[in-house]
């Protein structure tokens, strides 16, 4: 048994940690306050090869394994969730479907631009009437004169409306009881994107409502086989959960880092509050749970890299780290007292950014349903 990360993994961690501290940290509060999309940071991440890590090199990606990718997402989230979800949604939800299910032609057309970070991709699954019940998609794609004509709407879609968004892959009904994935390029007539949605957290990330009215895309934009849309998006969500789980560990670690430092600076009753056992126990519990959560995430990523089944472990990792990040953000803010409630203190942003980790890419409840199914219940 060998639980060591490789030298490459360690160097990815150090590099992304440095980048996050030096390039993201100083602007994170401002981006959040102004709900401003981090274009410059995305460009720099692209130059470093971090916008398409698990995509093979022959399509312009980094050719890295899932463990490296999870480490990078974790380290970004430790400093800022908006940047991390921009990378994670682009990579796992936007780009991966085209790599996994696209024809050679579709891969060559889209992947080089996406994996380099020059353009962004989105994945549009959720609809007003189809959230947890994602199979209840009402959006339709009808075959007419050699085209697909899309009608319907999507909600809460990440990365769909930035200046550099290239396309969204949507799930749509292509017949009775038949779901398929279709690529809709930005700028297609009939594809309308709402103004950015106002959010509690992830404020610098891009979240939109999409509507399609008689929106016509070429026949060749069908992703993979017709009617395979349901199993395709389940597979995408399985992989995506690893990156959201990595965000859970990163957020918990970031909250812990802030609380650990603050507890040593802040003095009450004549001593640093870190000298009080109640504070120590909180930090000890956080450190312990973070280790456990990280082990779950890396194991799920490792299983995926080995080509072994990982869906059960990915759901467990997502569930555990989502709830862990909730406890960690809560305790870390508590350790900050009233200061933690103020915008000037980063913990207030981490606290707001945390909640979505228990909702996006499957709520806690849905993870439990998935796990129960894997348990044979």
């Amino acid at each position: 048994m060998d639980l060591d990360l490789t030298e490459e993994h360690e160097l990815v961690r150090k590099t992304v940690r440095e980048f996050a501290l030096e390039r993201v940290g100083p602007v994170a509060e401002e981006l959040d306050r102004e709900a401003r999309f981090p274009y410059e940071i995305v460009a720099e991440l692209g130059q470093l090869g971090l916008m398409g890590m698990p995509i093979p090199e022959r399509y312009g990606g980094g050719g890295a394994d899932t463990v490296s990718y999870a480490i990078a997402i974790e380290e970004l989230t430790r400093i800022d969730s908006s940047v991390a979800i921009t990378v994670a949604a682009h990579t796992s939800l936007g780009t991966t479907p085209i790599y996994l299910f696209g024809s050679e032609e579709q891969r060559r057309e889209w992947l080089p631009r996406l994996a380099s970070g020059e353009r962004l991709a989105a994945f549009g699954l959720t609809e007003p009437e189809a959230g947890s019940d994602a199979g209840a998609t009402r959006t339709t794609a009808e075959r007419r004169n050699g085209s697909w004509v899309v009608n319907g709407s999507k909600i809460f879609i990440t990365n769909a409306g930035t200046d550099i968004s290239a396309c969204v892959t949507i799930t749509a009904r292509t017949g009775e009881d038949e779901i398929s994935n279709v690529i809709v390029p930005n700028g297609t007539p009939g594809y309308e994107i709402s103004a950015p949605m106002h959010k509690l957290g992830w404020r610098a990330s891009d979240t939109r409502e999409l509507s399609f009215r008689e929106c016509e895309v070429p026949e060749g934009n069908l992703l993979g086989e017709r009617g395979r849309g349901y199993s395709q998006f389940l597979e995408i969500l399985d992989g995506g959960r690893i990156s959201v789980a990595a965000m859970g560990v990163g957020l918990a670690q970031g909250a812990y880092d802030l609380a650990y430092a603050y507890a040593q600076e802040r003095r009450q009753f004549g001593r640093p509050i870190s000298k009080f056992q109640a504070v120590q126990f909180r930090l000890a519990d956080m450190a312990t749970e973070i280790e456990a959560g990280r082990a779950l995430v890396y194991r799920a990523a490792w299983l995926k890299d080995q080509g072994r089944p990982f869906a059960r472990e990915a759901a467990m990792a997502k569930l555990y780290t989502g709830e862990l990040s909730n406890r960690a953000a809560n305790w870390a803010l508590q350790i900050h007292g009233g200061y933690g409630y103020m915008d000037e203190y980063a913990i207030s942003r981490l606290y707001r950014d945390q909640k979505i980790l228990e909702i996006g890419e499957g709520t806690n409840e849905i993870q439990r349903l998935v796990i129960a199914k894997h348990l044979g219940l």
Binding site: E7, E8, L11, F19, L50, E57, G62
Partner: protein, 258 residues
């Protein structure tokens, strides 16, 4: 053109601890590439890139785990690395280290040897001088701007009162200042490719360094005692109540500083 960059692995983080028993720096814990050396690596890469040809060779002396520091520099883009590692080299001071590095550089015959301005752990800022002397090569230190043309290296050197512009024929030794550039982050591609780059491990015997000229035996530095830095003495606090600028000027004038 061949550029050698001497790099060092230093303990990660700012906190320094001196072991009172050995009177040496405590180097336990995680190590990292000395940040000042990243400036030298960056400059070497830029020189190579602008020349469109050449080779950047890393040289380090240290324990086997110093390879971690080399890996980052290789990931940044250096071509290959030489690690001088030997149990007998442990405890080498600046004199002993300079012998081993100079021997290794003689083998490589680089056109240019680059150093960072100092090591972040010992803060000596003299090793480059010793190495240049042993190699009998010209040295320019504290270089904030570097150009190479027609076999001549030109360095703009920061001094207390402005800049000195110094020219030296190649081969030469240059110690760069940390203001010379902003070191790049290793790219994912660089990280994944670093392991495949040639890395050579040499012992002192390979370099023909006699055992009495290395390690503690070859070191001439003796730490006699350690003490806390003296306290700052009395200090005066001036609050920003509107009259602060006048108070600061009066204070400086009183000390004859303005």
């Amino acid at each position: 053109m061949r550029i050698a960059v001497c790099v060092k692995q230093v303990p990660e983080g700012a906190a320094k601890r001196i072991d009172p028993a050995t009177r040496r720096l405590d180097r336990a814990g995680e190590g990292a590439l000395n940040a000042y050396d990243a400036n030298a690596v960056e400059e070497a890469l830029r020189l190579k890139e602008s020349a469109g040809e050449g080779e950047v060779v890393l040289l380090t002396m240290g324990p086997a785990r110093a390879a971690d520091a080399i890996r980052k520099a290789l990931a940044m883009g250096a071509d290959r690395a030489i690690l001088v590692t030997d149990d007998a080299a442990a405890g080498s001071d600046l004199l002993a280290t300079s012998i081993a590095l100079a021997r290794a550089l003689e083998r490589e015959q680089p056109d240019l040897v680059l150093f960072g301005q100092q090591a972040a752990d010992s803060d000596g800022a003299v090793l480059w001088g010793a190495v240049a002397d042993r190699l009998r090569r010209p040295l320019i230190s504290q270089v904030a701007e570097l150009t190479l043309a027609d076999g001549v290296v030109t360095g703009k050197r920061q001094s207390e009162f402005g800049y000195d512009v110094i020219r030296a024929p190649l081969p030469a030794v240059v110690a760069v200042s940390d203001s010379i550039n902003e070191p790049r982050y290793p790219s994912l591609k660089g990280i994944m490719g670093a392991k495949k780059k040639p890395q050579e491990t040499l012992t002192l015997a390979d370099l023909g360094v006699e055992s009495d000229r290395a390690g503690e035996a070859g070191s001439r530095t003796e730490v006699l005692a350690l003490s806390e830095p003296p306290s700052r003495g009395e200090s005066r606090r001036i609050d920003g109540d509107g009259a602060a600028p006048e108070a600061i000027i009066a204070f400086l004038a009183e000390k004859r500083l303005v």
